[in-house]
């Protein structure tokens, strides 16, 4: 165990090798390889029941993997109990000790390792999370946000190799959650410890993490930087779970060059070959996807003004809802179905009301292609796979 005198712990790599967890006949986590580089802010993102919390608990040592190994800073810790791992956890609902005051909660880890003079460190840590004056209060006398910061302080004071956060902001209201997201990011930058963050909130994951692993059904669907995942989803689950996507089934009519040419509902679409995550041959089906905010809505009368080379589809406005920063439209495109379009509220076109004939268009560069052999609805709110109970884990 390292001494706590080093204020700037560099953190360590986390390496999961073929790690899996089964409960009876239910597989919570399928064999998984994952490397989390030292000092990074890593998010495991997925709906409840996807195995993200189980994965986290296996890193903490609170859950024994069925197969595979956990390596921390180059050391195999699979067989070590949680109290011998240089890892600390911020639990969902915090799990602060109700019989101890804030000071003793924070000092708990140091005292268990036999460190006598904890005063200076505890006070510094309470200052870092701006809770100095609360030291002698009991956890139940604090607000949710304050309790959350105590939980972070209690874990961080031990200078772990890795800090694990299990839905740390789940119990906070939206405004406080936004504030704590930035706060956690600041603390992580300040202490430089590897953070592994489990969340079901895609916005939270994208705001905070350097790297996001999207999990679904006990497997990692895609891993990458938030922008990369958002712009280049590799599966329909990722496309739908991170933000919203319009997905259209299309047939490849031309392939081989730098651009694929597709037809869907009578419209011809173009898709850069490198943005298609599946090998597409002529005559096969692919899913063409594009984000609602990348689409421009033009009234049918102005169709002539649409730039040359844009993908375009004709349709009719079905619903227009004014959100404030934007207006969200549902557009009915014959032969394709309903598509959603978000328009920034700059110079709103008064003609775009339900029933209006429109043409929607977007740059081919903003189209992505996915394997057609998967559910269009994976990762959407109504998707049954997302409703599994996480508590089973």
């Amino acid at each position: 165990m390292t001494t706590t005198s080093t204020p700037q712990s560099s953190g360590g790599d986390v390496r999961l090798h073929r790690i899996s967890k089964t409960y009876g006949s239910f597989t919570a986590v399928h064999p998984l390889d994952l490397t989390i580089p030292a000092g990074s802010f890593f998010a495991l993102l997925g709906a409840s029941g996807c195995g993200k919390t189980t994965t986290l608990r296996m890193i903490a040592g609170l859950e024994e993997p069925t197969t595979g190994t956990v390596e921390l800073a180059g050391r195999d810790v699979t067989a070590l109990p949680p109290y011998k791992r240089q890892v600390n956890t911020v639990f969902q609902n915090y799990a602060l000790f109700p019989h101890l005051d804030i000071y003793e909660n924070v000092a708990f880890g140091l005292r268990r390792r036999g460190i006598k003079s904890v005063k200076k460190q505890v006070e510094e840590m309470l200052d870092l999370v701006q809770l100095g004056p609360m030291a002698r209060r009991k956890p139940q006398q604090l607000s949710g946000g304050q309790q959350q910061r105590v939980a972070v302080a209690r874990a961080l004071i031990n200078h772990p190799e890795v800090l694990l956060l299990d839905e740390p902001l789940g119990a906070l209201d939206l405004k406080l959650r936004r504030q704590m997201q930035l706060e956690l990011k600041r603390i992580q930058t300040e202490v430089g410890i590897t953070f592994v963050h489990v969340t079901h909130d895609q916005e939270e994951a994208m705001t905070m993490a350097d790297t996001v692993a999207v999990m679904n059904g006990g497997r990692v669907e895609q891993l990458g930087a938030p922008a990369e995942l958002y712009e280049n989803p590799a599966t329909t689950f990722v496309a739908n779970f991170l933000g919203t996507s319009n997905l259209i089934e299309a047939e490849v009519t031309e392939a081989g060059g730098t651009e694929l040419v597709l037809t869907a509902g009578g419209a011809t679409l173009r898709l850069p070959t490198r943005r298609c995550s599946t090998p597409a041959r002529k005559g096969e089906k692919v899913l063409a996807g594009f984000r609602p905010e990348k689409v421009v809505l033009a009234h049918a009368d102005d169709a002539a003004a649409i730039p040359e080379g844009h993908n375009r589809m004709a349709g009719r406005v079905k619903i227009a809802s004014f959100i404030g920063v934007s207006t969200q439209y549902v557009v009915d495109v014959p032969g394709v179905g309903e598509l959603s379009v978000y328009e920034q509220n700059i110079g709103r076109d008064g003609r775009l009301v339900p029933g209006a004939d429109i043409v929607l268009h977007w740059e081919p560069e903003h189209t992505f292609g996915l394997d057609a052999d998967q559910s269009l609805l994976a990762g959407t709110v109504g998707d049954a796979g997302a409703d599994l109970d996480e508590e089973a884990a």
């Binding site: 903490a60 609170l62 600390n88 956890t89 019989h99 708990f108 880890g109 268990r112």
Partner: protein
């Protein structure tokens, strides 16, 4: 008791029978309606406390003859000489000793049973859960008689040990019930958090589990002490020639009741009240210092 019952019944009867003339009713009725809860509370309190007050008052009596049932005149004789009755303080000491050991035994065993029942899934767990309640549900006389039969057949001599074994047995269910409720409501993540923060299993138990379960354990222990100290039926069947304090009181009631019995009763009552008060003030002070 009749005197305490009437004030409780009175206001209830008035409101129940006369709700119709609400507007026209006088000030008295309105006052009654507003203070009904307070009155009912006070009446209930009187109902609870009055027997104790009688015991206390009669501890200062100087009865004519051997029975302390009629007030004659004030005296502190019994208080200045509490052990003046032959064998009484000996039986009191024995009762206290048995109560302490029964409390220790029942609390230790009961706490372990409670943890096992709350934490682990094992064969016959449901059956154990039900059986634990049996001593509480079974008529005491039945249990007393069957225990006596059991001891007789096993050839165990009646005395201190048979009483202690019997007391631990019937205290157990109360401890288990009190502790189990507490352990069941405990967040299992607290122990995981302790382990995550470098506490070994032993440290986790001593630093987190036990302190959080402590109020339940304390409640079980207090109940055990009270139950054991004043148990008569089971003790009487299993004591042989040993005489505990309740047995002494019962025995002496046949021949005459010394005032000293009231003195001991009063003293026990005051000690209990003092303990409760001390606990509350300590709790309040801690809360106040936290706020500042």
């Amino acid at each position: 008791m009749a005197a305490t019952d009437t004030p409780a019944k009175d206001p209830a009867a008035t409101t129940a029978t006369a709700p119709a003339p609400r507007r026209t009713s006088g000030k008295g009725l309105r006052w009654l309606r507003r203070n009904l809860v307070t009155l009912a509370g006070l009446a209930t309190l009187a109902y609870l406390v009055l027997p104790n007050v009688v015991v206390m008052v009669f501890s200062f009596n100087k009865p004519n003859g051997r029975f302390n049932y009629q007030w004659t005149r004030f005296s502190t004789d019994a208080w200045t000489d509490p052990c003046g009755v032959a064998d009484m303080c000996g039986s009191l000491g024995l009762s206290l000793e048995i109560a302490v050991w029964a409390t220790v035994g029942a609390t230790a065993l009961g706490t372990m049973i409670a943890f096992a029942l709350a934490r682990y899934r094992f064969r016959a767990r449901a059956a154990v859960n039900t059986l634990i309640f049996l001593p509480m549900a079974m008529p005491e006389v039945v249990m007393a008689a069957s225990l006596a039969t059991l001891f007789l057949n096993m050839g165990i001599r009646f005395g201190f040990w048979t009483i202690l074994i019997a007391h631990i047995m019937f205290c157990l269910s109360f401890v288990v019930t009190a502790v189990k409720a507490r352990v069941m409501s405990m967040d299992p993540r607290l122990e995981q958090a302790a382990q995550d923060l470098y506490a070994t299993p032993v440290q986790t138990f001593l630093r987190v589990t036990l302190p959080i379960a402590a109020p339940g354990i304390a409640a079980g222990a207090l109940l055990s002490f009270a139950l054991s100290f004043d148990d008569f039926i089971i003790t009487n069947f299993n004591a042989g020639s040993t005489v505990t304090f309740p047995m002494f009181v019962w025995g002496s009631a046949q021949r005459g009741t010394p005032v000293q019995i009231n003195v001991i009763g009063t003293a026990m009552f005051l000690v209990a009240v003092l303990c409760v008060f001390a606990g509350q003030t300590a709790g309040n002070r801690r809360k106040r210092s936290k706020r500042s």
